[in-house]
């Protein structure tokens, strides 16, 4: 097999793993972001304090350190995750924390009249948040969320540190066999750039699809 044939077949295996990581992490991190934001804005003092502390902690720690703690330090406390799930947990916690900041800002930016109107229609607090506040807040937070998803795609390469055979890991392994770093790592770089660009375009499409005329941020 030629260098490129072998390289491509390697890369594809890793790429699939990367896509698996992202397929799990993207929806979960968005859910966590929404949950944390709601907890901080609508929770009682204890809940909002816990959620706020969680966000501050995760935003202050480098993702590498979070990942290494989840995989290498938590087993000491009897909490064990296989590599793939350790990576997923670290990525979701980190990205969710960052995303929640955008969602929280968006919730805060929604006119109080919306909330009053929902209450006067007899909605419960839960109904109000789920049906009135969050659909608007999510749309407003979407550009920020998109940014975080792009970061998530790039930082998914850190999963190699705990032994997940994702895109960067296979590239690095292949380089140790062939030692042609320029071809190998620049191809890898372009694949990541490709994924990031596709994600940017896709989320822009979603933004346009979800847009409600007249609701634009003023």
């Amino acid at each position: 097999m030629s260098f490129w044939e072998e390289f491509i077949s390697y890369l594809i295996q890793g790429w699939i793993t990367t896509l698996e990581i992202l397929a799990v992490c993207i929806p979960l991190s968005i859910l966590l972001g929404l949950g944390l934001a709601v907890a901080r804005v609508y929770g009682n003092r204890l809940i909002s304090l816990i959620a706020g502390g969680f966000v501050a902690l995760l935003r202050g720690l480098p993702l590498v350190v979070t990942l290494l703690i989840v995989f290498f330090a938590l087993p000491k406390l009897g909490i064990f995750f296989p590599p793939f799930w350790a990576a997923v947990i670290a990525f979701v916690m980190c990205s969710g924390a960052y995303q929640s900041e955008y969602v929280r800002g968006a919730i805060r930016s929604i006119d109080i009249g919306q909330s009053l109107a929902a209450q006067s229609l007899g909605m419960t607090k839960l109904q109000e948040v789920v049906h009135i506040i969050l659909p608007q807040a999510f749309r407003r937070a979407l550009p920020g969320i998109t940014n975080e998803i792009i970061y998530l795609i790039l930082y998914s390469s850190l999963a190699y540190l705990v032994g997940v055979q994702e895109l960067f890991a296979v590239a690095k392994h292949f380089n140790s066999l062939q030692f042609r770093p320029i071809e190998i790592f620049s191809t890898t770089a372009l694949i990541y750039a490709f994924m990031a660009t596709i994600a940017t375009l896709a989320f822009r499409k979603i933004e346009v699809k979800l847009r409600i005329p007249g609701l634009e941020i003023t």
């Binding site: 350190v65 290498f72 998914s156 320029i182 790592f185 620049s186 770089a189």
Partner: protein, 220 residues
């Protein structure tokens, strides 16, 4: 019996290396990002295109891949055999240049066009107008974005442990291996990073308030 606490000074020494990575990366990123931003806003079409490609590339490739690409591939191919610290600073700087160019571009574009036109009417040349009127405002407006960039590059600097730069995380991992005690060293490292993140961000915000010109739009 050697405990983790005996290694504390050893880990703390890594703070200087981390700050070296961050300081070097931020400065190089500034030296690259500011001219790129000027080129993107005031340059001709070719210049704009080149800046866009540069910013796109460095903002869409993981730091991990860039570090390996430059350390094992590009620098050796160009005939430079760089030590891990220098290579890491350069890569962090190139990448930060891409991010900072976007921060400065945003700040520059938030300044009303009338300012530039007024400067030209007063007889200033293009470059005088940019240097004396646009840039002083741009830099002030960009400070909050810059604080953000500091926090990002600080946390990314930890990734440079893959090349063996003796920063906080590398040392932490050595301590874990020496003591076979993973919990405490990682918590110490985490605590140091949190302290540096929030401490540094606070410092930059003080600079922002100090240099703020009342009435200038830069409220972000």
């Amino acid at each position: 019996m050697v405990t983790v606490w005996d290694y504390l000074p050893y880990i703390l020494e890594g703070v200087w290396w981390t700050l070296g990575l961050v300081g070097g990366g931020l400065l190089l990123g500034f030296a690259i990002g500011l001219p790129l931003a000027v080129a993107q806003v005031y340059g001709n079409r070719i210049l704009k295109g080149l800046v866009e490609v540069y910013a796109w590339f460095f903002r869409s490739v993981p730091l991990l891949v860039l570090l390996f690409l430059f350390y094992w591939g590009i620098f050796p191919a160009l005939g430079y055999k760089l030590d891990p610290l220098t290579c890491s600073i350069l890569v962090l700087g190139f990448r930060s240049g891409g991010y900072q160019s976007q921060i400065f571009r945003g700040a520059m574009q938030s300044i009303s066009e009338g300012q530039f036109i007024a400067a030209r009417t007063l007889g200033m040349s293009n470059s005088q107008a940019i240097r004396h009127i646009i840039l002083p405002q741009t830099l002030r407006i960009a400070i909050p974005g810059w604080a953000n960039e500091y926090a990002i590059i600080l946390k990314d600097s930890a990734i440079c442990f893959v090349l063996g730069v003796m920063e906080i995380l590398t040392r932490t991992r050595y301590v874990v291996m020496a003591t076979l005690e993973p919990l405490l060293p990682y918590f110490i490292a985490g605590g140091l990073f949190i302290l540096l993140t929030y401490g540094g961000t606070k410092l930059v915000n003080i600079v922002y308030e100090k240099t703020r010109i009342p009435g200038l739009i830069g409220r972000m």
